[in-house]
């Protein structure tokens, strides 16, 4: 129970230390893991290459169902512990047979977090209903930030207090909430209504196919060079400081401070809070991370991608 939680955390720390020893000169901090969903084999190969070149770890699947399965979210009442959420970003084609990219987006954005009375175990449950009564007990909802909490079973008001503090504990540790995993949609059709619908549903960005290297680099630098993930903040900040020689590559080649792997420390106070609005990144397109000058050889677009798409469609 609680022991399990601690054990797995310790194991994770050990694993990370091993990795650190084996590769002292490369960055031992978290590598961005992207799940790419596309029914076209050619496109899967291209997007995989695009992502690998920008130093992401890539998993590709050919359908929305497989994507949900990979994430462990395919069954009705499936629950997944927070540790299991394996990906930092999902990038999906829009037009796919069966479950479209839009359907997948909606499914992911409708996830809620459920706390068992088992402290230290946080689970993710898919639920589309705000409040439900069942035979075994009432379900109460608690909202903390962007996480919806469902407590099961609930019979004692005192439990809510306990749950709230547990949730606060969960929130401050470095864990990712499935609902916060950014989803990017790709489509070969430049249809404004489609773009708007996806953004409204919570898509992080909308890329027009064929996807270019500049698109992927921009995406990665906007989303992952900001202090989006609390656990990696310290590492990221330290990585930024000594490195200024990167021109085309978006990864620093040498990390002179492998000791930046300091997971037990609290998040650095100078970190910016993660942007909650879906379009926050567009304002940070060119200037926010000068040391990660990924686009120094590429023209950096002054406008946000969605604005650019709207401009293009007006020209047609």
């Amino acid at each position: 129970m609680a022991r399990n939680g601690m054990f797995s955390r310790r194991r994770r720390a050990e694993k990370v230390e091993e990795y650190d020893e084996l590769l002292p000169l490369t960055e031992a901090t978290h590598e961005v893991h992207v799940l790419a969903v596309d029914d076209s084999l050619v496109d899967r190969i291209v997007i995989e290459r695009l992502l690998k070149i920008t130093s992401c770890k890539v998993t590709t699947v050919d359908s929305g169902m497989r994507a949900l399965k990979y994430l462990g979210l395919d069954e009705e009442e499936s629950s997944v512990t927070i540790d299991d959420l394996k990906v930092d970003l999902i990038i999906t084609d829009y037009c796919m047979p069966g479950m479209t990219g839009y359907d997948l987006l909606k499914k992911i954005k409708s996830l809620v977090v459920r706390l068992f009375p088992d402290p230290g175990k946080v689970v993710v449950m898919r639920s589309l209903v705000p409040a439900v009564e069942t035979a075994s007990g009432k379900i109460a909802g608690v909202r903390l930030g962007t996480i919806d909490l469902w407590v099961w079973p609930f019979s004692d008001p005192g439990q809510v207090v306990v749950m709230r503090s547990l949730v606060q504990a969960v929130e401050t540790t470095s864990c990712r909430n499935a609902r916060e995993v950014p989803v990017v949609i790709m489509s070969s059709e430049n249809v404004l209504a489609r773009i708007d619908r996806c953004l409204e549903e919570g898509a992080e960005d909308f890329l027009l196919k064929p996807v270019k290297l500049a698109d992927v680099k921009r995406l990665k630098s906007c989303m992952f060079n900001e202090d989006r993930f609390r656990g990696e903040e310290k590492g990221m900040n330290k990585r930024k400081l000594p490195e200024s020689s990167s021109d085309d590559s978006s990864t620093p080649t040498l990390s002179p401070s492998p000791s930046s792997l300091d997971l037990s420390s609290t998040p650095s106070p100078s970190s910016t809070s993660s942007p909650s609005s879906p379009k926050a990144f567009s304002s940070s397109l060119s200037t926010d991370s000068p040391t990660h000058s990924t686009d120094s050889s590429m023209p950096s677009s002054p406008t946000s991608p969605t604005r650019r798409l709207k401009m293009i469609s007006q020209d047609l």
Partner: protein, 156 residues
């Protein structure tokens, strides 16, 4: 002598590429693919293109067998194949093939069987041309690499 060969081959390659661009057979996306090729993935372009060829030939076979069927009426299914073809052609920069597919799709949306048959023939023709030219391109590239390797035996 071999040195001259390398330069001439590079010239041949550039001329062929320029021609294909000029004819609208290829577009900028093909250059994007070349950007993804490097020492860690030195044959990326030809690998992707070969997969594109395999997928395309499957699609062409499906399209043809659909249309050859006298009882044919499943235009929706044809549309699905065409969408796939449009998508993959666009991803590798095969502009003319893609455009023919788009026109083909219009005919299929209008349930125009004759129009579809014509479009299919045109598509097969364009696809053949593309395939031949790209094979030619890859051959020149291979020869150039071999010639360069002989000229500069110790590369690194």
């Amino acid at each position: 002598m071999l040195g001259l060969g390398v330069e001439r081959l590079r010239g041949d390659m550039n001329r062929l590429l320029a021609l294909l661009f000029h004819q609208g057979v290829l577009d900028e996306q093909f250059l994007q693919l070349q950007q993804l090729q490097d020492e860690s993935s030195p044959n990326f372009v030809s690998e992707v293109v070969n997969i594109y060829f395999q997928e395309s030939e499957k699609l062409l076979r499906n399209l043809r067998s659909l249309l050859m069927d006298r009882e044919f009426s499943d235009y929706k299914k044809m549309g699905v194949h065409l969408n796939q073809f449009i998508g993959s052609s666009s991803s590798i920069g095969a502009k003319r093939v893609r455009n023919v597919c788009v026109a083909f799709r219009v005919a299929s949306e209008q349930n125009n069987r004759l129009g579809c048959l014509r479009a299919l023939e045109l598509l097969e023709h364009e696809y053949c041309y593309l395939k031949n030219k790209l094979h030619e391109l890859f051959q020149i590239e291979q020869q150039r690499l071999l010639a360069a390797a002989v000229r500069y035996p110790v590369q690194h």
